[in-house]
Amino acid sequence: MKGVSIIFQRELTSYFSSLFAYLIAFALLLVMGILFVNDLTIAADLRPPDAALVPNFFAFALIFFAPLLTMRLLAEEKREGTLELLLTAPATDTAIVVGKFLGAWAYFTVILLLTFTHQFILLWVTRGQADLGIAIAAYIGIWLYGGACLAVGMVFSAITENQIVAAFLASAALFLLWIGDRVGTVISNIDIARFLRELTLQGHFVSSFAVGLMRPEDVVFFAGIITLMLFITIRLVEWNRWR
């Protein structure tokens, strides 16, 4: 698709030239490091350290982290007027949205890759005894989970010109999708609770990827969320033309 790679490169470069993006990554990795050291200390001589600690932390942190990464993607373009130029370039709306999404997902991937250092430390501390299977499955899961969160964030960035509003609304939506797996505590009907849990991000991560299971339905779920959210974003961008 013409234009995807050019827009992807521009977005990725933009993250790496933004102090704000570095600060977000720094804060995230700092908290991650503290939690990791804490878990190692607690686990010492009691239990094996948690190989999925990093992905599990991200499953929660993405509620706030993903909207911070996506809030400017379209909201800023609208506010600055660059969206008008983009929409008059010979690139489809799909190429613009997909390029931007891939840029954000690539930046998230880089941050995720940086946390591999924790896994190396874990391997070193446990003298190679850490359960790498769980870690690999959890990382694949959180990578897809992150993609879904970023796609949700993009929808809200396409709705408004205000980045703060975009981030707030996306965080609220992601929080609902995150906490939704606890729906069983408020709904007594097991079937309904089970169905609603199937619609949540956590429902397709905590009991599968995070414990080393890779089920096709979970992969399809995250791929489906990404596709659906990007489709909605493309329609919202298109709507700008018809206003």
């Binding site: 234009g3 600055e80 008059t88 690139a91």
Partner: protein, 306 residues
């Protein structure tokens, strides 16, 4: 070239552009002239593929904007009214991004050439956020020009910049006429007169007049008007003298002199000098009064508004 036929845009209840038809041939700078809110920007947005028309058709370099929007967009260089920039990019990076996105054949080479053309080559490594408003305007022109499109659409490119930069931008636009079709919107009439080969006057979404600036002036003022300033005579004597010439239709006081309207195809200059000298007067100034585009515009738009 640009060809527009019955182009219409309706925003829910408001008709922003109402069945406009015009052509902008290759090698010409065509001015889209009109007051704020006349429909200039909406017209340009439809031509650039930013928004679809409600009805009608338009083609850019022979490509229909609705049938093959992407191909038509590739033929256009567009500078919106508010120059949109990415402040975090360098000047060179910004232009290169648009060059690649618009499919320039040699993006780096063309970026360097266009930066040279708009006098920003020495700023190529500067962050866009550090540029002055005038420089941003030139950067906007650079991004519109970089892929060497056959059609350039510039929405009020001289708005909000200092006089020196206005002259530079006008010169650049004028120089674009060679090899490009330029559609240039403005509400500054003198600018349209200086820059444009043809003018399309638009008001309330409708075209109210179009043609060469000189033609439009002639349409409004087919007769010769003279401004005359005569000394050594009283106002009464001067008025009597002017009205005594049979071809004079109307005399009006204007500053220190008089505006004299004469009958079609009549030339009273020799007779006027003769009569003034005989009456003991001395002619200080005598010149034809040429209607400016401003007069044409106010006349047409004024009538419309009434």
């Amino acid at each position: 070239m640009i060809e527009v036929k019955d182009l219409t845009k309706r925003y829910s209840t408001r008709l922003a552009v109402d069945h406009i038809t015009f052509k902008a041939p290759e090698g010409e700078v065509v001015g889209l002239l009109g007051p704020n809110g006349a429909g200039k920007t909406t017209t340009m947005r439809m031509l650039t593929g930013f928004m679809p028309p409600t009805s009608g058709s338009a083609s850019i370099a022979g490509i229909d904007i609705l049938e093959d929007s992407l191909a038509a967009r590739a033929k256009v260089g567009y500078l919106p009214e508010r120059v949109p920039v990415y402040p975090d990019m360098t000047v060179e990076g910004y232009v290169l991004f648009w060059a690649k996105l618009r499919g320039a054949k040699a993006p780096r080479k063309q970026t360097a050439a266009v930066l040279e053309r708009v006098n920003l080559a020495d700023r190529s490594k500067t962050l866009v956020r550090n540029l002055s408003k005038g420089m941003r305007q030139r950067l906007g022109l650079a991004q519109a020009l970089v892929h060497n499109p056959p059609v350039m659409i510039l929405d009020e490119p001289t708005i909000g910049i200092d006089p020196q930069q206005v002259i530079e931008v006008r010169d650049t636009v004028r120089s674009l006429a060679q090899g490009h079709t330029v559609l240039f919107s403005t509400h500054i009439l003198s600018e349209a007169e200086q820059v444009c080969d043809r003018v399309v006057i638009i008001n309330h979404g409708k075209i109210v007049a179009q043609g060469k600036p000189a033609e439009l002036r002639k349409k409004l003022q087919p007769d010769l008007h003279l401004y005359v300033q005569i000394d050594k005579l009283t106002s009464k004597e001067i008025e009597k003298l002017l009205k005594s010439i049979p071809q004079v239709e109307n005399v009006q006081k204007a500053g220190d002199g008089y505006n004299v309207r004469v009958k079609k195809n009549a030339d009273i200059r020799t007779e006027l000098i003769d009569r003034a000298l005989r009456a003991g007067g001395s002619i200080q100034e005598m010149r034809p009064v040429i209607a400016t585009l401003e007069n044409v515009f106010l006349d047409i738009v004024g009538k419309e508004d009434v």
